[in-house]
């Protein structure tokens, strides 16, 4: 690997570009100055302490957590259905049906947001609530869950399940006792990814939130108050730490799933 040092330097610079915002985040969060600029003033945990006093924020976090847990559960279940179906026999139009399930991955979010707002408030006349956000988030999280679970299901050796059924297990019993444990790492990974996406999603939540405030909607509300910028940095530091921790756990389980299925891993989480 002596060749390509130019590329290596480029790739490292690119990583710096990718990580620049995340590296700056804790610097400003622990900076005592009110203005977000260099030079840094001094170490302080004021901004984190102030997070505790914001009750509206606490309500928003609670809403976001309720939404994210429900979304992660529902989209993992739908993802299991889609990924399992993908690994079973073919039939006419199967490819296009799976394509439709995966489509939200590439649709512009504003289009989905507008469409859901129209159907929910203008056509059905339902007022926006936690539930409308959950329904919309399940739609956009299911493709991600499916993509991760596809890896788990497609690499599964079919003969395991057939052997269990030959030995007297029912189809469901064979799935529960043989397949499920084998794909469990993939399920955990899909759950965590759906959780992170839902927790962070803003564009659709803003359209459908009505009086309900989720955490990104709360952060959005602070955008014009420059006094609150350090608090956003503190909140961001907590969020980034949390999602990196969840990602490492998700990646750990995804790789373990790959190892259980006995294949070599070169892919990533996307």
């Amino acid at each position: 690997m002596t060749r390509g040092w130019g590329l290596r330097i480029y790739a490292l610079i690119y990583l710096v570009f990718l990580f620049a915002p995340i590296i700056l985040l804790p610097l400003f969060a622990f900076n005592s100055g009110k203005i977000i600029a260099f030079p840094l003033q001094g170490f302080s945990t004021t901004w984190f302490e102030e997070l505790w006093t914001r009750t509206t924020l606490h309500q928003a976090v609670q809403n976001s957590l309720i939404i994210a847990v429900s979304v992660a559960t529902l989209s993992t279940v739908l993802g299991i259905c889609a990924a399992r179906a993908g690994a079973l026999d073919d039939y006419p139009f199967k490819g296009s049906m799976i394509g439709l399930v995966m489509l939200p991955l590439v649709l512009p979010e504003i289009i989905l947001a507008v469409a859901l707002l129209v159907i929910i408030s203008k056509v059905l006349g339902i007022s926006p609530s936690l539930w409308t956000i959950i329904m919309a988030h399940v739609l956009i999280c299911t493709p991600y869950a499916t993509a991760i679970l596809n890896g788990a299901f497609q690499n599964l050796d079919k003969s395991f399940e057939e052997a269990a059924m030959d030995l007297g297990e029912s189809r469901w019993g064979a799935f529960r006792l043989v397949t499920l444990p084998l794909v469990m790492p993939g399920i955990i990974s899909a759950f965590l990814i759906a959780f992170i996406i839902s927790l962070d999603e803003f564009i659709i939540a803003f359209f459908l939130s009505g009086n309900v405030t989720t955490m990104p909607v709360y952060i959005w509300g602070l955008r014009r108050q420059s006094d609150d910028l350090p608090i956003i940095m503190a909140l961001g530091t907590i969020l980034v730490t949390l999602s990196i921790a969840l990602l490492i756990i998700a990646e750990f389980f995804r790789r373990r799933g790959m190892r259980r299925a006995g294949i070599k891993d070169t892919g990533g989480l996307l």
């Binding site: 620049a20 993802g79 439709l100 512009p108 070169t266 989480l269």
Partner: protein
Amino acid sequence: MAGGSFMSTGGRRSLLLLLPPFVYAILLMAVPIGAVIAISFTGPDGFSLANYGAVFSEPINVRGVVRGSLETGDLSWTPGLLPRSVYVSVAVTVATVLLAFPVAYFISFHVSPSRKSLWLFLITIPFWTSYLIRIFLWKVILGFSGVINSALIGIGLIDEPLTFLLYNANAVIITLSHAYAPFAILPIFVALEKIDRSLIEAAQDLGENRFTTFLRVTLPLSVPGIVAAVLIVFIPTIGDYVTPELVGGSGGLLIANRIQSLFLQVNDPGLGAALSVVTMAAVALVSLIFVFTCRRWLRSRS
């Protein structure tokens, strides 16, 4: 539906399993988009094209404003939001894919297999961290008294802060290129991984140098990945209204901001729906032209 002898038992089970996510996508995506199309064609008394008339007659949406006159020759066109959004999305896509390709190439060809997943993991981490907060941070980085300006002044390269960094289309392009980086790197990486390494050795045995090998073997074989990367960056960027609003300034607002305000502030869902449909059509058209151009180019080579 599942009847008929053409389908195996396994096929039927697979169809039954696929139904829940499929029906969900129909109910929450296909039906709502159908409703948007229906609303866009509805006026006060039933069917009407008035919304589409407004989309094309109001200068802000598509047409833009023409100033000056032909005689004096100082004609200038301030484009409407849709052409400008397409331009910004194309610029974001070109920047993202050009910057991403060498990284994908590096990971596929120069990183040892055992460390590839670590690199891919590192590249995806920023993508999974709070989207809004990342944009706020770009504001901090690019701002008047931001990181770049204070660093440049600190080392004495400039005396006055640079003002072209924030609150314009450049800022939108930088921020979005950052946000969509993994979407560009991963498909290109997958395409590069699929290339049979013996083809490259063969080309070099037949007298090509490294550069011509790249141009004549590696690059054409990676086109499917590039096409996927372009589409997966281009299509969603059109729908972003957060980045333009936070870093784009008054001149950087895009079509999604207009749609957002038509629905949430102005409360004109008919016009908003028509504008959404026109935007979707424009995105589809640009994407199709791109895909066909790539196909023709590939075919003309073989």
